[in-house]
């Protein structure tokens, strides 16, 4: 018989290293034609940090995304941004890039204020222009303003570094402030359990994630969906088998990960509770994406068949054994 059940799980996740300094830095150069080069040590491993950092730079400099080129993760060229881990790069490198952009535009804004005969405070940068906030018809193009800067012998460079506000954990009682900010999430899973075979099919996952601010929503969704599937694997199938220190599952025929056939319908839901210390309110999402998934699935299995598994993964053999026990 096939039985369905629904389960819920929450998670929290501190952004950045735990109770340790973990700064990141960036350089920015605003070039004569109004294009921008960002130098960052941040390694993009497919999650899209290069694009996220480009968006942050573009927003802060008031240029288009096409105007920004990010050069990343080359120790001969780029400054240290620490690890792409702990879901930290959007928050920490994002802040570093934003600060670098702020510095790079100071001379630009100062020059524009003189050109427009207004206060620096009244200016904003958008659409490749330096615009008077309350009188948008009054502006100077960034490129023209750069011409003026260069004529005056001024270059437009910036650097920035950001270290999250944390304290070390006390070695005795663990008290302290380990993280500057946390991501939160709730996932609901619906499963179908085959009570004859013990097989579990995850049908749906509703994944609501508080990311502070989604710099790039489609990429945030991608992180959530990918995370959920690593969570499905963790819950139901993945297990490195080790015998006396020897790995018995050394290839992808013996170590199984989810395939497209295992994909449930995933509903990523982006919740934005802005983090005041984050770049444009952003926190992080990479790891949070998978954290509650296995728990939600296990709770859903209990809802379906009244059996609580406390040892992951929930293989069909394991579940079938428990279902039989429950019957007797």
């Amino acid at each position: 018989m096939k039985k369905r059940g629904v389960g819920l799980a929450n998670m929290w996740y501190g952004i950045g290293n735990t109770g340790l300094p973990n700064p990141a830095s960036a350089y920015i150069e605003l070039l004569d034609d109004g294009t921008v080069i960002v130098l960052t040590g941040c390694a993009d491993i497919g999650q899209g940090s290069t694009t996220t950092l480009a968006q942050i730079a573009a927003e802060e400099m008031g240029v288009d995304i096409e105007d920004v080129r990010v050069v990343s993760a080359d120790t001969g060229i780029t400054p240290d941004a620490g690890a792409t881990s702990a879901s930290r790069q959007t928050y920490i490198s994002g802040n570093a890039v934003k600060m670098a952009a702020k510095e790079a535009k100071t001379i630009l804004v100062e020059t524009a204020a003189r050109m427009l005969e207004v206060d620096e405070d009244s200016l904003i940068l958008e659409d490749r222009k330096i615009v008077v906030k309350n009188d948008k018809d009054k502006f100077v193009k960034i490129k023209e303003c750069l011409g003026k800067c260069r004529a005056e012998g001024k270059l437009t460079l910036g650097h920035g570094w950001f270290n999250p506000d944390v304290t070390a954990l006390n070695p005795e009682d663990g008290q302290g402030k380990p993280y500057a900010t946390y991501a939160f999430a709730t996932q609901v899973a619906e499963v179908e359990v085959n009570t004859e075979t013990g097989e579990v099919k995850v049908l749906k996952i509703f994944a609501a994630h508080d990311v502070g601010k989604a710099i790039n929503p489609i990429n945030v969704e991608g992180q959530i969906e990918g995370g959920c599937m690593i969570g499905v694997g963790f819950a139901l199938m993945e297990q490195v088998k080790v015998d006396k220190g020897n790995i018995k599952t050394p290839n992808l025929a013996t170590y199984l990960i989810p395939t497209a056939m295992d994909t449930p319908e995933i509903y990523p839901i982006i919740v934005e509770d802005p983090e005041v210390t984050g770049p444009f309110g952003a926190k992080g999402v990479g790891e949070p994406a998978l954290i509650p998934t296995a728990a939600a699935i296990v709770n859903a299995i209990y809802d379906a068949v009244g059996v609580r598994i406390t040892d992951l993964p929930v293989t069909p053999e394991k579940l079938l054994k428990e279902i039989k026990k429950e019957r007797n």
């Binding site: 899209g48 969704e221 990960i257």
Partner: protein
């Protein structure tokens, strides 16, 4: 060693090469012909990263001896775009956010192409089945399935 001369079509170009009998198709493509878009993820036919299309069907090029492609027609990821213009699948993968690290992408796109060539209007379930031999660890497959659906609509226009 006793090299064998083989003739085949690769991405619409005729090739004549001498290969040793034990050389794998993936090594011929990557090492000898320099087309590194075809990836090696496992070398055992499990991950699909080395997928190429041979006479309309997908094969894991890590499991095929190069000598066996004599007289056959091969398509790799490099053969899909027409100059600057992306193939509708490449376009939809870009637009739908179906690419993260990109390592599985060439194989994934070629399996999608073979699927759509055979079944121009697949259901999401048929797409998942068609891609079940291609592993992806980043995307959770959701946006890949959407991208294939989108490309199928585009190709049927």
């Amino acid at each position: 060693m006793n090299k064998k001369l083989i003739k085949f079509t690769l991405n619409d170009k005729e090739y004549k090469v001498e290969v040793e009998p034990q050389v794998l198709l993936v090594d011929l493509i990557r090492e000898e012909l320099g087309l590194t878009g075809t990836k090696v993820g496992c070398g055992e036919g499990e991950c699909g990263a080395c997928t190429v299309i041979m006479d309309g069907k997908t094969v894991n090029s890590c499991m095929v001896l190069a000598v066996t492609v004599d007289g056959k027609k091969i398509t790799t990821i490099e053969g899909l775009a027409k100059g600057e213009e992306l193939h509708p699948l490449q376009k939809s993968f870009v637009e739908e956010g179906a690419v993260q690290c990109g390592f599985c992408t060439p194989g994934m796109i070629l399996s999608s192409k073979a699927l759509l060539d055979e079944n121009p209007n697949p259901t999401p379930e048929e797409i998942k089945k068609g891609l079940s031999g291609n592993l992806c660890r980043c995307t959770g497959y959701a946006k890949i399935v959407k991208a294939v659906e989108k490309a199928s609509k585009e190709l049927n226009k």
